[in-house]
């Protein structure tokens, strides 16, 4: 069955691709690709610039073309008008020009005009009588067959009729035989026909050739601009790749180095900035590699040292221990001084033993020479064992120990030896500082983690002291007699044990009310967890805001502590290596009690 995270990812991908379409993909590509951004920006700006320039060129040329054609048309029309007028004028020799003569003059004039116009695309001609005249003779209106009479507006006719000395021009649109419209130009002038009055001569020129030229030019301009933009894009891309290439190589190489392949370097070629980047990068990688190798070697050396010291110290210590024990057993037969001496010797040898064991354990943690021996463990069972083990000590001081296990019945993957040690330490401390009051142990678990809390109602600690309680050899009250004994390293070792699992060890304390230590371990050792099956602050305090507003642990606010049983616990800031506190003043001799950090061999 696919895991929860796989299913969630599949659903997300489906939603992403299906409903939202390509937009998120584009956004993602935009964000992640420098080349894309640069090329797109360049193309955009180039496109804008090129279009502006192209448009203005096109407009300018178009206007120029049009002016040119218009001037040509104008001069042609003028010539044609004069020509026609000459023809009509030449016939006024006789006083009564008759109809036939007039008609033939008209034809002559028309042919002459048509012959004179040389406009490509054709010209249509019409001679129309100016309305509102009475004359003795008239000639008929004539027009060439394709004359677009409907394009001649009344305004034009008025203008033409009114202004006899000048030409009147008007742009028109002509219809092509095969459909579509082309631009044209209509020119009107007046003719004075003898005995027939004023006639208007209209010439309509087809400007489609100019239009075609303009269109061709525009097309060429457009293609050229597009090609230019594409070329710019390609060039930009190439240049960007040239620059981004080394950056990408540097990024990939640093990723490989970070992944552990310390020998990777950037190829160095040339003298430019990019080569300088390569050289400095390689220099940095060299320095780091040397440092790492050095540190690893140092760690190995320290590990070996720990191992050797362990052996060297333990053998003579065993002999001393055995000797001390033998004397201790026979102390009844000594004199009082010797007896007392033997007692002191016995006690101190024991203390030395424990201290040595703790010291060696701590240096193993420091050297990184520690391993988890993970077993399927029933935490509740472990808790019960430890409680049973320390019950006599608790009874000695008058403390009752109760276990409230709501979880932790199913097995988890932890190192039982280490967890046992942590629990012995916490419970031992609770007995030591519990002032004879009841001690409560809670066990609980959730999907990700299991937690054990040890609460005592004894002296408690000041807020400033709570921060330092995990320091090595630190004691809150140096003048306090140790009844159970302890090396000062118990909590430091417990913290390391918890952290080694990927878990946490946290504390809540209030002066005069006691302390509560919570060790939280993930169900599978190594997978760091943020889950909190048990809160650090005791529930009674967490539910009562008034009580919480007292002396909160430094680093938290009263609000966060009274947020209810599911508050995520405030954590000790330094977790992985522990901090080295200043050693506290040395202690009085411990009585013959077993301190809390024992080793497995002691049973």
């Amino acid at each position: 069955m696919p895991s929860r995270s796989t299913r969630l990812r599949a659903a997300a991908a489906r939603a992403w691709l299906g409903r939202r379409g390509w937009a998120p993909r584009v956004v993602q590509a935009w964000r992640s690709s420098l080349e894309l951004r640069t090329v797109a920006l360049t193309v955009l700006l180039a496109g804008v610039g090129v279009s502006i320039i192209g448009t203005s060129i096109s407009v300018s040329i178009g206007a120029n073309l049009y002016d040119q054609r218009r001037d040509q048309v104008q001069s042609e029309s003028l010539r044609a008008t004069l020509l026609a007028q000459d023809i009509f004028d030449s016939a006024t020799a006789t006083e009564d020009a008759d109809q036939v003569e007039l008609d033939s003059l008209q034809n002559e004039a028309q042919s002459a005009i048509l012959a004179s116009t040389s406009s490509p695309g054709g010209t249509s001609i019409a001679i129309l009588r100016t309305p509102g005249q009475t004359t003795s003779q008239t000639i008929q209106d004539i027009a060439s067959p394709d004359f677009p009479a409907d394009r001649i507006t009344d305004d034009l006719r008025e203008q033409v009729a009114g202004d006899t000395d000048n030409l009147a021009l008007q742009p028109v649109t002509l219809e092509r035989a095969e459909g579509g419209e082309v631009p044209g130009l209509a020119v009107g002038s007046t003719l004075q026909v003898p005995a027939a009055g004023q006639y208007e001569l209209y010439l309509v020129y087809d400007l489609s050739d100019a239009q075609a030229t303009l269109a061709l030019m525009q097309r060429t301009l457009a293609i050229g601009s597009l090609a230019l933009v594409v070329l710019i894009a390609v060039i930009t891309y190439v240049v960007v790749r040239l620059v981004v290439g080394p950056v990408r190589i540097a990024a990939e190489t640093s990723q490989e180095i970070a992944a552990g392949d310390l020998d990777r370097r950037i190829p160095e070629k040339g003298q430019d900035v990019v080569a300088t980047l390569g050289r400095s990068f390689n220099g940095m990688a060299d320095a780091m590699q040397k440092q790492i190798v050095q540190l690893a070697e140092l760690s190995r050396v320290q590990q070996r040292f720990v191992s050797d010291v362990s052996h060297e110290l333990r053998t003579p210590l065993t002999t001393i221990r055995l000797a001390g024990d033998v004397l201790y057993d026979q102390r009844g037969s000594f004199g009082p001084t010797a007896e007392r001496t033997t007692e002191l010797l016995h006690a101190q040898v024991e203390r030395f033993e424990v201290l040595l064991a703790d010291l060696l354990e701590i240096s193993r943690f420091d050297a990184g020479a520690v391993e988890l021996d993970v077993e399927s463990t029933r935490v509740v069972g472990l808790v019960d064992d430890v409680v049973a083990e320390l019950e006599p000590l608790a009874a000695d001081v008058g403390s009752t120990v109760t276990v409230d296990a709501r979880g932790g019945y199913l097995e988890v993957e932890v190192d039982p030896r280490r967890l046992r040690r942590v629990l012995r330490n916490l419970l031992g401390n609770a007995i030591e500082h519990g002032e004879g009051r009841p001690i409560e142990v809670e066990v609980d678990s959730d999907a990700e983690a299991v937690a054990v809390a040890v609460r005592d109602h004894g002296v408690g600690m000041r807020p400033g002291d709570v921060d330092r309680v995990f320091d090595r050899f630190w004691r809150a009250d140096p003048s306090r007699r140790r009844t159970i004994g302890g090396t000062g390293l118990g909590l430091a070792i417990s913290l390391e044990d918890a952290t080694l699992h990927g878990g946490r060890l946290e504390v809540w304390s209030r002066l005069g009310e006691g302390s509560r230590f919570v060790v939280t371990l993930p169900r599978t050792a190594g997978a760091a967890t943020t889950s909190a099956p048990l809160p650090v602050a005791p529930r009674a305090v967490a539910d009562d805001p008034a009580a919480a507003a007292g002396e909160p642990w430094a680093g938290t606010t009263p609000e966060s502590m009274s947020a209810g049983p599911t508050t995520s616990p405030t954590t000790v800031p330094v977790l992985t290596t522990g901090h080295r506190g200043a050693p506290g003043p040395s202690d009085e001799p411990a009585a013959a009690g077993r301190p809390s950090t024992g080793e497995a061999g002691r049973g």
């Binding site: 210590l317 055995l322 497995a600 061999g601």
Partner: protein, 226 residues
């Protein structure tokens, strides 16, 4: 006749001290300070139990253990300076029955020695079958067909405990109590390694055990007879 203990340790002061402690408790200690002489010393003194230090000149403690095991099923208790898991497991796999890490409580050492020397309880049945093995309780023999398999006393006791109650799942703690005789929280690694050793000797395929099966999260159980 006091039980004879062979003490193999290169530190003279410690060896002497151990001797004093043993004598005070009614044992007869013999000494050997060199690994290469250990096997000879063993043959010469015929001890009832061997205390073996791991760091020895000449032959290494592990090698001595293997050499002794090749010859005899005598109880061997390791003395280790390093409590590291790797070393402990290595010692147990080499053939030791138990280990004590230095520095140790002399009373604890004596208690363990006594437990190892205690004669096993009267057998309830004469012959047991587990898998395709035939366990002759009175003769302390295990056979597969006609081939006898050599087990140390502890390995035999372990197999016997499991085979006597084939349906029962034994937790490690139960086995420590029944087979090793420890009534306190001893190291469960003892059981783990001994089960492995037993499997290596009696199973057809130690990685797929049929005779000594693991019940995950609980302990071990004897497999059904084939």
């Amino acid at each position: 006749m006091s039980p004879r203990i062979l003490v193999v340790d290169d530190d003279p002061a410690l060896a002497e001290m151990i001797g004093i402690v043993l004598r005070a408790d009614g044992f007869e200690p013999h000494f050997c300070s060199d690994g290469s002489a250990a096997v000879d010393a063993f043959r010469n003194s015929a001890p009832d139990l061997v205390l073996l230090d791991l760091m020895l000149p000449g032959l290494d403690g592990l090698q001595v253990c293997q050499a002794l095991r090749a010859e005899s099923g005598v109880p061997i208790i390791m003395l280790t300076a390093k409590g590291d898991s790797v070393d402990v497991v290595a010692g147990l796999e080499a053939g030791a029955d138990d280990y004590v890490s230095k520095p140790f409580d002399p009373k604890e050492l004596v208690a363990r020695i006594r437990t190892r020397l205690r004669p096993s309880a009267e057998p309830t049945a004469d012959v047991l079958t587990v898998g395709d093995l035939r366990v002759d309780v009175a003769a302390h023999e295990v056979r597969r067909g006609d081939v006898a398999i050599a087990l140390t006393p502890l390995e035999f006791e372990l197999l016997l405990a499991l085979a006597s109650k084939p349906q029962q799942v034994f937790t490690r703690e139960m086995l420590l109590e029944q087979v090793w005789g420890y009534h306190y929280k001893a190291d469960t690694r003892l059981v783990n390694v001994h089960v492995q050793r037993l499997r290596a000797k009696v199973e057809h395929d130690p990685d797929a055990p049929r005779i000594v099966t693991t019940v995950r999260g609980v302990g071990y159980r004897a497999g059904t007879s084939s």
